[in-house]
Every structure is written in structure tokens, then in C-alpha cells.
Symmetry: C2
Subunit: 381 residues, 2 copies
């Protein structure tokens, strides 16, 4: 029997601050930088897991908050965990539930112990603590477990951000104590501190003292804007251990991924490709395209001629437009697939560029192509 | 260059009244008896066309009424027809639009010339005649075009049914005159006459005099019940030409298909497998199963252990249940696929049984298995 590999990160090469690495897990090696499609309720919305894998996706994310409420963590455990239940063979990362619970606003109460909240599904009362969040993620069989934290709201005054970060650090310690190590599995701590560089530095140091298999940058992409996000990354990533993976949570648009990699980030997740796919927005090498727009109604050309996904190789913009106008399920199936494919191709391009030492040129080309805008419309009958 | 085959039907063998045949078209040979999945708006709802083909489906149906309104017949023609637009490589049958226009009730007006109606989408006014319906189906590039008819409402008095049938026969003649023959393409006439055997006989004779490549039995499955439907078939199919395909429109449940084949029908179509798939009803060898039912919540077994579709080979009932409760798109994707697979397997089973001369045994086994009911529930936690 093959032994399960140790969970670990190998930094292969760097190009500026951009990093090319490999994350070894119990369920395969993840080439970084990597984008993780989001499968909130143990399904990447509108896609078969084999289609997700076909895009080149290596690891996916599921949400603790949603799964603890439905179908329930213990039930998922009895069904063999999220991976087995949903038929995903690669590694799985779960968030801690903290971010989504915080988003409930008046439906939740925060104490030193944890968070009490009411389910958005049936109003039932739940209590989430660092210990319970970690246990739930164990029950879900997460390959990568996230520490339970408070995602500091934005904007926050410095005293508020400091207090919130300090709480997250105490929770990180409790999360680590509750983590049950398994070969090939790991747990990540989450750096907080809002947009304040010194708080971020303090958070990085606190987490390093506890010691995790990886570190996330949390509390960004919450309204601070791309510039403030990039500045915070520039102040934070140089302080983070080089030999551990760095994960920017909940990010983002294609330009955010490129900018994140340029600032030393290895891992990303975001609902944007699938959510946009449901509303008719396709990401392309020449920027986003709204397929509901009437100018596509008779356009026989593919959404993105350089894409090899089914939506681009088998169908015209005109047909995709028709599917969205007719509100057919196939519209979101095809466009979600395309958008995930685009994100995976973007990451693969960045990985190749870092290996080749040409990341700066890749970045310049990316921005130039996005700025060019969509192809000219043709006859709309 | 390979020459396009002539459209034609070859009756291979019979077993009782059940018929095993081959329908040759410009886009391949269809083994009959056959079930045609419905792709109303040029998509079989929730399925990629390659998945539809993977179930063994050989020919699909699209709806003239929906496509003439959106995206429009001329637009579809400019995009190369329905088959090319949607990426379906096999033959395609379109209905005439008559049935759906009649269903609009007060929104439509019937005259000798045709039907004037208001679009359910935007209230715009449209006029459909035998000539225009036939032209639209030509523009849609239907491999099999249906004659424009009035689907007689049920119940109807005999005088009403007679008048309606006579109108359909006059329209059939005009439809035939408007049909533009192409190699490997055909047009079917539609037998009407409600549940009155003598009217059906008259309709069969009228259509035979006009001459079509195939004949449909219309105006059934409209509320008359299975027994009346079967009795009407028993009175009708023996009068129909043996060397032409016979198509029972809009039918039906699994038992309707088995009973239809037993009464000499070669072709079927119905939205039931995909529509039921969207609501959580799965068809199985032991009858229908409602996956939303709580008894499936922790059932690790497949929906149908004898089915080789992805829903049954990769997933548990518990996961399918979860997907339906969470209203995830994947729920309907998987169950639509399963139901289409079940229908195709049922037809394949009937074809094999007819060839083997064991159709009566097949029919008995089918009913016995359906009557057995679903597998016993196991622990629900």
C-alpha cells in the first residue's frame, strides 16, 4: 500500500515576488499559484465534478456554514465526507464558517467563546466556536482546514481592527489545539488586521508562533478596493514564511489574481466565475462579455476563440445568447464551465510565466489584452 | 462524397403487434421503437447534447412554437438550423406548433386559414398556417417535419371531433403541398379523430391518400386516460400502413411506452423524463422515486442499482436528496440525465425483446418490477 504523503509546500522558483510551488496533500499535488473553484453546498454550481476537473482545477472549496446547516456535518461524515459524497477526487479546502456567520449581521451574537447565530434556512439557533468549527471541518473531511476567525468588517477604526485581530489570534490558538492531524491534511491560520500594516505584521507573527501548515490573508475583498488590497498584500506577504503556502481568501476578479500572484500569493478562491456564469457574464482574454446583450444575437463566433472549453468550441455567441434569453439551464452550465476554464487557464499561464522568468511580460500582456476590449460586433440581423 | 441516404422505414420483425424497425435519415439510422427526448427551445433542459447522445438517444424533438418566437425561425436558419446551432449531430423532429398554439386558449383564434395568436412572451401577434408551419420547420432544418393540425380538445362530442379532424385533414393536404423535399428528410401526417374509431379510420385513409413518409397518432394523452388511449391505438394502428413509421405524440409514462409498443407504435416523445427530473422524481426499474422524500437523506445506495448513468454510478440517494433540498442545479442535471437514460434503456430493452420474440415476457417482467415498488428505506439517522 502506498503511504500517504506528508502535507507540505515546496517553493520551486520565484520571479520577482511571484512564486511557483507545489502543495502536496493526501489527495494529490497542487501546482501553485492555484485558483480553487467554490462548491458551497458540496457542488460547484451547475457543473459535474468531472467537468470541474477537466478544466484543470486541482482543489476545490466548500463552505462550513452551509454544510453544517444542510445536510449537517455529522450526516456528511456518515456519508464519507464531502469529497466522497460529491465525487471529488482531489483535495478539498473548507472555510471556517466565520466569514459567512459574520455576514448574518443582526442574526448573530459574538462573544469571546464564539458566535451564536440563527440559520438563514429555518431560524434554528447554532453556536460556532473555534473548537466546533474545527471539528465540523474534520467531519467534512477537509484536506485543508481553516482556523476560525472574525473577518473584520470594512471600514474599521484601528482600535476596532486591533481588537478584532487579537480575538482572531486567540481563536487561531484554540483552532490549532482542536485540530486533529492526519497524514496529508493541514490547517491554515488566517492573518487579519484590516488595512493596517502594523496590525497585519502583528497577526503574521502571532500565527507563526502558533504554527500552521499554511497561512491565509483574510479580511480583504470586503470593500476596501483593489489598491488598498494590493497595498495590504505588499505590506503583509514579505513578512510571511516563504516555505508555507499563502492563500488570499475570497479573491477575485482576473486582475486581482494577477496582482495577487505578483505580490506573492499562492492560492485563491472566489464564487465570481460561477456566479457571473449564471448571470450571463463571461470572462475572456479580452475582458468580460455580457452574453445577454443583443449584439450577440446573431453572432456565429465563439465567446473566446482561444478557449478550449465546450461553450467556446461547440457553440456560437448567438446560441449562448438565446439560452440566456430563454433562461435555459444549459446557459449557466456552459458559462460556468467556461469561466472556470478561463480562471484555470489564467493560473496555468501565470505558472508557466513564473517558471520561464517572464511574469512581468505576462502581466503586461494580460492587461493589454483586457484593455483591448471585446471583439467588434457583427451583423445583428 | 458519400451520398445522402433516402428517408425510409424498414420493418425488420414483429412480435405480436410490437414492431422492430429502422428509420433511415440524412443524419443516421434510428432503431425503433424509439423515444425522442424533447429539446423545446433547442436544448434538452439541463443536459449537454453529448450527454443526451451518451444515453443512447438517437433523435430529439424541438418545438416550432417556442423557436418561432425565440430566437425566431429565420434567425435559426441563418445560424444553420437547430441541429447545427445546438450541436446535435443526429436527426431532429419538430412539431408543427399546432398543439402548443391550441393550448393558448383565449389567446388564439382559429379559422380555415390557420391560427392567429399572441405570444406568451411579449404579447406580439402571430399567424400560423399549414404553409407557414411547414416553412418554419424547413428553416429550423427539421429532419422530420410534422403536418400542421388541430389537436382536438378532450372531451369532444363526435360532431366536434369530426369537424376538427376534417380541418386537420385539409391542413395536412396544404402542409404536404408546402413541404420542400430534401434527401434524407421526411414529413409525417397526424391522425386525429379523438377517441372515435370511425373518425380515426377516416383520418388514416385521408392521410394515406395524401401520402407522407410517416404517420403520427395525435390528440391522445390529453386527458382521456390510459385505457381510452390504448383502445384508440388498438382501433387505429392496424389500419395504418405497415411499411411506414408510427409516432404516438407526447407520450408518455414508462407504462404508456410499453403499452404503445405493444399496440404497434414505433416512436414516442415526452417532456416527462426531464420535467420530472427537475422536480425530484426519478424513474426506476421499480417504479418512480421522489428523491425529496426524507427517507433518502442518509441512504448511501444509488437511485437505481441497475442503471449506468452518472447519477446512479457516482452518487448516493443521500447526495441527490441533499442537492434537491439545497435547490442546486446539479440536482436536475443528474436526475434529467438519469430519467433520459432510464427511458432509453427501456426502449433498448423492448427492441431486444421484439428481436428475440419475447416481448410478452418483457412486458410482464416490466409490470412485475414496477409493481414491486422502491427498495426498502434504511437508517435515516
Amino acid at each position: 500500500m502506498a503511504s500517504v504523503p506528508e502535507f507540505g509546500f515546496h517553493l520551486q522558483t520565484t520571479d520577482g515576488k511571484a512564486r511557483r510551488g507545489q502543495l502536496t496533500t493526501a489527495y494529490g499535488v497542487v501546482e501553485t499559484p492555484v485558483f480553487m473553484p467554490v462548491g458551497t453546498a458540496a457542488t460547484v454550481k451547475g457543473m459535474m465534478p468531472e467537468s470541474v476537473a477537466a478544466t484543470g482545477a486541482q482543489i476545490i472549496l466548500a463552505n462550513t456554514y452551509h454544510l453544517m446547516l444542510r445536510p449537517g456535518a455529522e450526516r456528511v461524515a456518515r456519508l464519507g465526507g464531502v469529497r466522497k459524497m460529491m465525487g471529488w477526487n482531489g483535495p478539498l479546502l473548507t472555510d471556517s464558517g466565520g466569514f459567512q456567520v459574520m455576514s448574518l449581521g443582526p442574526l448573530r451574537q459574538l462573544t469571546e467563546d464564539g458566535v451564536t447565530f440563527k440559520s438563514h434556512l429555518d431560524g434554528s439557533k447554532h453556536h460556532l466556536t473555534p473548537e466546533r468549527s474545527t471539528e465540523i471541518q474534520h467531519l467534512l473531511d477537509a484536506t485543508i482546514t481553516m482556523a476560525f476567525d472574525e473577518c473584520t468588517p470594512f471600514p474599521a477604526t484601528k482600535p476596532v481592527a486591533a481588537e478584532s485581530m487579537a480575538l482572531s489570534m486567540r481563536w487561531a490558538k484554540r483552532s490549532r489545539a482542536a485540530f486533529q492531524p492526519r497524514p496529508g491534511y493541514g490547517q491554515f491560520g488566517i492573518v487579519q488586521g484590516s488595512v493596517f500594516a502594523d496590525l497585519r505584521a502583528e497577526s503574521v507573527a502571532s500565527l507563526a508562533e502558533i504554527g500552521f501548515e499554511g497561512y491565509a490573508v483574510g479580511g480583504l475583498a470586503v470593500g476596501e478596493g483593489q489598491q488598498a488590497m494590493f497595498e495590504t498584500l505588499e505590506a503583509t506577504t514579505p513578512l510571511m514564511q516563504a516555505d508555507k503556502p499563502r492563500y488570499l481568501m475570497g479573491v477575485g476578479k482576473p486582475a486581482d489574481l494577477v496582482g495577487g500572484v505578483a505580490r506573492g500569493i499562492d492560492m485563491f478562491d472566489c464564487v465570481l466565475p460561477t456566479r457571473s456564469g449564471r448571470t450571463g457574464q463571461g470572462f475572456t482574454r479580452r475582458g468580460p462579455v455580457n452574453l445577454k446583450n443583443a449584439r450577440h444575437a446573431e453572432d456565429p463566433r465563439p465567446l473566446d476563440a482561444d478557449c478550449h472549453c465546450p461553450a467556446c468550441t461547440h457553440y456560437s455567441r448567438a446560441y449562448l445568447h438565446h439560452l440566456f434569453k430563454a433562461e435555459e439551464v444549459l446557459s449557466l452550465m456552459l458559462l460556468s464551465w467556461h469561466n472556470i476554464q478561463y480562471y484555470q487557464d489564467l493560473m496555468a499561464g501565470m505558472r508557466a510565466a513564473i517558471t520561464a522568468g517572464s511574469f512581468a511580460a505576462f502581466e503586461a500582456d494580460f492587461h493589454a489584452a483586457q484593455a483591448r476590449g471585446d471583439i467588434e460586433p457583427i451583423g445583428t440581423g
